[in-house]
Amino acid sequence: MKNLIIHTPEGFRDLYGGEIIRKKDLMGAVRSVFKDFGYDDIETPAVEYFDVFGNEVGTTPSNELYKFFDRDGNTLVLRPDFTPSVARAVAMHFPPTALPLRLCYAGNTYVNSQEYQLHLKEQTQMGVELIGDGSAEADAEILSLTCNALKEAGLTDFQVSVGDNNYFRALAEDSGLAPDRLEEIRRLISNKNFFGVGELLESEHIPSSIRDAFIRLPKLFGGTDTLDEAEAYAINDGAAASVKRLREIGRCTDESGCSRYISYDFGLLSKFNYYTGMIFSAYTYGTGEPIAKGGRYDRLLAHFGTDAPAVGVGFTIDQLMNAISRQKPRERRS
């Protein structure tokens, strides 16, 4: 029999001793970078109305949210990520004249996921949101903040992979495929399934230029030459505009000196529907998962009644801790 008084529920844990010291130090280091970039703190509640994370916002699937009811019978959830909460808070408290806003947060998120045994169900996230600035400079600011925060955390060997959701979306619009087929293609591309896309499209009648681009997408990642190749596959204005935008962002990051950490990946497609432009993930050794994720979400605030472009990044502190502690003793051949 489990002793239910002394154990924590599965997916939740205590932190004490050296581990909590290391975690607090790490969070301090990351926060100092947020502060250097001029971001102000914001704290939102752990509990929100279900609609903040509902289907239209497109974040975590409903069955992975911790849900309960208030006295009036409204459905409440424990936040699965911060961005919709911050967007809601901005719409609620700040007049449009206060934009642009630079906000940073730190706190725990909750995802009741069965399939990812990799994850604790409670994870600490830190991040920033830059709201009210739709420029490529704003995108680049978030990228260089990400690189600086990872360096400050003590990492030397990491990569930030940058893509653009609009590229796939532009191709998808002209493909004439049904939404469920497109969702299947999106899943195959984001899993870098090099042959699944071709297999699936065999039975579909779509323009061959779009077919070729879809089949190429899972392999469309690497250095700046990736942008040239993506340009060649850009069959409509939307896709071409998305490549142009990434070039602009690339130029801005060159100036901030973090371009050596940046690569491009047009197959990087988030399952979070709220991303509307640049999206990115940061990777390093020692953890099988991204340590930071972010992107542009220009339509999310409109969902809460304030129409403003926005871009942000979130760091998964637990994954970052794992990476840092595992990188040190990892065996290396000279």
Binding site: K192, G288, R333
Partner: protein
Amino acid sequence: MRYITVALTKGRLARQTLDLFERIGIRAEGADDSRTRKLIFSNEELGIRFFMAKGPDVPTYVAYGAADLGIVGRDTILEEGRKIYEVLDLGYGRCRMCICGPESAREALNSGDQIRVATKYPNIAKDYFLNRRHQTVEIIKLNGSIELAPIVGLSEVICDIVETGSTLRENGLAVLEEVCPISARVVVNQVSMKMESERINDLITRLKEALNES
């Protein structure tokens, strides 16, 4: 230089894969010795090491990043449903995932009655019946000798991989429906794909060339 770690599915798949690696000039020291008790074989010169694992564990090693690459059947990838990149179809280990049973079970299968399905692959079976056939069924998880289930009356049909079909025939069973084709695949950890993209892409390209030659 970091090691590139490759997880192999124990058995015939591992032997075929080691042969393939040898054809592109990557030999794992001592892996061909069938009596060895060693778990891990490395090629120090190229910084590549191999280890053998049970099939269903291969996607796990890769998802956590303990192995950068894995060689595993598509059946296992579908069943485990891990977030891993699937980058190359090796073409061998070919078979089919099928719904099988005695001919007499075909009627029950199509009647819409609640039927029992015995399988080693509960997730694949559930997905097939729920999302493709829109049928509710009772799934019974077994760990081997699945063909036994309809014979002794544990289930009406089974969901299992079929290579030649001779085991089925010998036991009076037949393929009733095909779920999907299966073959060995190369899977890659999502972080390794980015951090070691040059070495991993080079490996995949050479494996692919070697496959095309044969």
